[in-house]
Amino acid sequence: MKDRSSNDIDKNLIGKIKEGDTNAFGQLVEKYKDVSLSLVFSILKDERLAEDVLQEVFIKVYEKLHQFKNKSTFSTWLYRIVVNSSYNELKKMKRFSNMDDIARRPEQIIEKEDFLKEENQKRFIHMALNAMQNDEALILRLFYLSEMSIREISKITNFSKSKVKVCLHRGRSNLDFQLRQLLGDELKYLL
């Protein structure tokens, strides 16, 4: 789904980074940071922690970049590291605390009258996505936000293609359900 020019830009930047250009690395981070953060957040459901994990992911990416052989696109390779690191962090967290408590932490109440404000719409969407299963939220974001194909998502997550399709289908239904639960009739004003 990703266009060819994006891959060419990545290849060019990676070539420069391998020659020691840290500015090129900065450009690569700039390009992928927000989508990557959204993916980490899908799994960890904690924005601050997600950002800390993402910093370590990018440092790891820099150190392992010589291992990237252009067999897949850079974005697939990067998101695979992002997803693996996030699940590893989740495992660590589960050892020390009850993740359900963290994931289902109540968010600040938003009055529905303020719903039309852009920022509040975003918060309702986050609340709906946070109420969903990690895998479903992650796959929805990989598909619609990162614009990855089913095959690429399967590579990134190590799920079979059929599981990705099932998660995608359930994710769509659950997102609709969660938004209806949160907004009721107001859903029609969303976006």
Binding site: T22, F25, G26, V29, E30, K33, D34, V35, L37, S38, F41, E47, A50, E51, D52, L54, Q55, E56, F58, I59, Y62, E63, Q121, K122, I125, H126, L129, L140, R141, F143, Y144, L145, R172, L175, D176, L179, L187, L190, L191
Partner: protein
């Protein structure tokens, strides 16, 4: 909701990193490279030096005291202790240096990864 609306909703859920995120990552990467340059290289050199010292010590001990045809065989054994002590002290100093390097490496590594600490 239809496919198009779901896509719009998901795209709206995109998070943004805090300002200065890129600079922090680039600084951390540079700091880690510096750690590698300053610590990993001396660590390797020290390890090779210590190994060579140990081999040399073993060779000398064998030559002077070990074999029947040793240099000091039948002569005063008063040199045994100072020579042995000298090499032991050199070895311990080297070992101490390696341990200090390792500690410095761990501290710098921790500093690099700690998101709250300044670089």
């Amino acid at each position: 909701m239809n496919e198009k609306k779901i896509k719009e909703v998901i795209q709206k859920s995109k998070l943004e990193t805090s300002s200065g995120f890129v600079d922090t990552v680039v600084q951390k990467v540079a700091a880690r490279q510096e750690v590698k340059r300053t610590v990993v290289w001396p660590f390797g050199i020290t390890f090779i030096g210590l190994s060579a010292l140990m081999l040399f010590q073993s060779y000398l001990l064998y030559m002077f005291f070990g074999s029947a045809t040793s240099v000091l065989n039948g002569q005063s054994s008063s040199l045994k202790v100072p020579i042995f002590l000298l090499f032991s002290i050199l070895f311990l100093l080297g070992l101490n240096y390696v341990i200090r390097l390792k500690k410095a490496h761990q501290q710098m590594n921790h500093k690099t990864y700690n998101p709250d600490s300044p670089i």
